[in-house]
């Protein structure tokens, strides 16, 4: 399983994207799907970067594997316990002046990926994204 570790910093986001795009391309996804997978991954990665390590620095790890047919991306961190899937879905039909700013990222992640799972294991948050 190809894996890579990064300091959980926004300036590393481009390098994270490069890794994920390469793995998605290797699984044969077309450019449109690769872009969607990157979009979903961005939402998960930014969550970790922003919230996993309040007031301190930390790492995150990305592991990709072949999920016949498709791709499984596992994003893990050793930050504070947080299940992004526990967030309520935003009401995308509410009028714009009442739209809440938060929650959109995870909402889109769930729309794009075929499966999204969270678990807390060995003091790590592990979010698994699967695209067939």
């Amino acid at each position: 399983m190809p894996g890579i570790s990064f300091a959980a910093k926004i300036e590393n986001l481009e390098a994270m994207f490069r890794f994920i795009r390469k793995e998605a391309q290797a699984q044969g996804f077309d450019e449109k799907k690769v872009s969607q997978i990157q979009l979903a991954a961005e939402e998960a990665l930014v969550n970790v970067i922003k919230y996993a390590y309040p007031g301190k620095s930390g790492d995150l790890e990305i592991n990709c594997s072949n999920k016949e047919p498709g791709l499984e991306i596992e994003i893990s961190d050793s930050g504070i316990p947080f299940n992004p899937l526990s967030l309520p879905e935003p009401d995308i039909h509410s009028p714009m002046e009442k739209r809440k700013i938060g929650g959109l990222g995870i909402f889109m992640l769930r729309k794009i990926m075929d499966e999204v799972k969270y678990k807390r294991e060995d003091n790590r948050n592990i979010l698994t994204l699967i695209k067939h």
Binding site: E42, V46, M96, L104
Partner: protein, 107 residues
């Protein structure tokens, strides 16, 4: 990082030109730029997106911010968006408050 956007405001029209990618790495910069328009009377809020290739929720949040904070009463437009961007806009329901057009004709 080179700016991937420009903001121009005159005579009640705010034009926001977006290029390349609008994601978590540069959306906060755009939001800072748009904050400068708070308090101005904006009647038309125009996002020019012909050259925008990718938008994530960080970019969408800035569009929501713009509508809520600088253009509550403004008519908001999304102009020339590519399919990839348009599908994200529709997925998130932002098409409910945007007039989506291929080109923008000043009225």
């Amino acid at each position: 990082m080179d700016p991937k956007f420009s903001v121009d405001c005159k005579e009640g029209m705010a034009k926001v030109e977006l290029c390349g990618r609008l994601d978590a790495t540069n959306a906060p910069l755009l939001q800072e730029e748009l904050k400068k328009l708070i308090g101005q009377k904006i009647a038309h809020l125009v996002f020019l997106a012909k050259d925008l290739e990718y938008i994530s929720s960080a970019g969408l949040r800035v569009m929501i911010f713009a509508k809520q904070k600088i253009g509550v009463d403004a008519h908001a437009y999304l102009i020339g968006a590519q399919d990839a961007v348009l599908s994200v806009i529709k997925m998130s329901g932002l098409d409910n408050f945007l007039t989506i057009q291929d080109t923008y004709n000043e009225q």
